[in-house]
């Protein structure tokens, strides 16, 4: 089978995709993915983390007891 014959056979069985576009609006899917992966750290989370860190720095003797309860 020559190169040309091979091309003809392939094109006969598997036609070109043609100038097709998507069958539906894909933007809602993209927007949903963007929104669902938006950064989730609320200000309250940061405040809580900061308070815990401050407490541990001020009262380091709490660390063993905290680790025990974990």
């Amino acid at each position: 089978m020559t190169d040309e014959q091979l091309k003809r056979v392939l094109r006969a069985a598997m036609p070109q995709a043609g100038p097709l576009g998507p069958r539906r609006d894909l933007w809602p899917d993209v927007a949903q993915r963007i929104d669902s992966r938006a950064p989730g750290m609320h200000w309250f989370d940061w405040a809580l983390a900061g308070t815990c860190l401050l407490l541990l720095l001020l009262f380091p003797e709490l660390i063993p007891s905290l680790l025990y309860h974990l």
Partner: protein, 172 residues
């Protein structure tokens, strides 16, 4: 401020404008490689999601199309790698197949094509079916021209071997 600069800074409205400008471009590259409309739609969404995720690495001074195409093509090849051992999905976009070709022959050709390794299959699809020049294939896949030639040679050799018993190849 230019559209790409707004996207880099995280402006989602600007990204929607960019999406609407280029979704057809991205989709057309993907569908030509994966040859399945539903998969091409999912991969188009995935492509734009990855573009959004990596927008800070985008250079607004450079053209957007080659960057988007590279992401789309890489995702398409990954998809082909996953599909390799699955049953073929017979959803070929229009125009219809050659009516002179019997269904068994068409299935045999499609099966032979689908068993090609993904890298060879992507090159063969673009060069042999979509009739892109080897230079265009090299640019689309971001590989050297020499690699395109090698992959095309290997794909053709494998296809000839698999289709050697097919009478169609000798009759047409």
């Amino acid at each position: 401020m230019e559209l790409l600069e707004k996207v880099v800074e995280g402006d989602q409205d600007a990204f929607e404008i960019l999406f609407r400008q280029f979704q057809g471009f991205v989709y057309s590259w993907i569908v030509r490689i994966v040859r399945n409309q539903a998969a091409a739609e999912d991969l188009t969404v995935e492509t734009f999601w990855r573009i959004w995720k990596s927008r800070r690495r985008m250079d607004p001074q450079k053209p957007f199309e080659p960057w988007a195409r590279r992401i789309a093509v890489n995702l398409s090849i990954d998809y082909l790698k996953q599909l390799r051992y699955e049953l073929p999905v017979s959803e070929t976009p229009s125009p219809p197949v050659d009516p002179a070709l019997r269904k068994e022959e068409r299935d045999q050709i499609e099966r032979a094509f689908r068993t090609l390794p993904a890298d060879l299959r992507a090159v063969a699809t673009l060069a042999l079916i979509e009739e892109l020049s080897q230079q265009e294939v090299a640019e689309a896949l971001s590989i050297p021209l020499g690699t395109v030639k090698t992959r095309l040679f290997r794909a053709s050799r494998l296809l000839r071997r698999k289709l050697s018993g097919l009478r169609v190849g000798n009759d047409r």
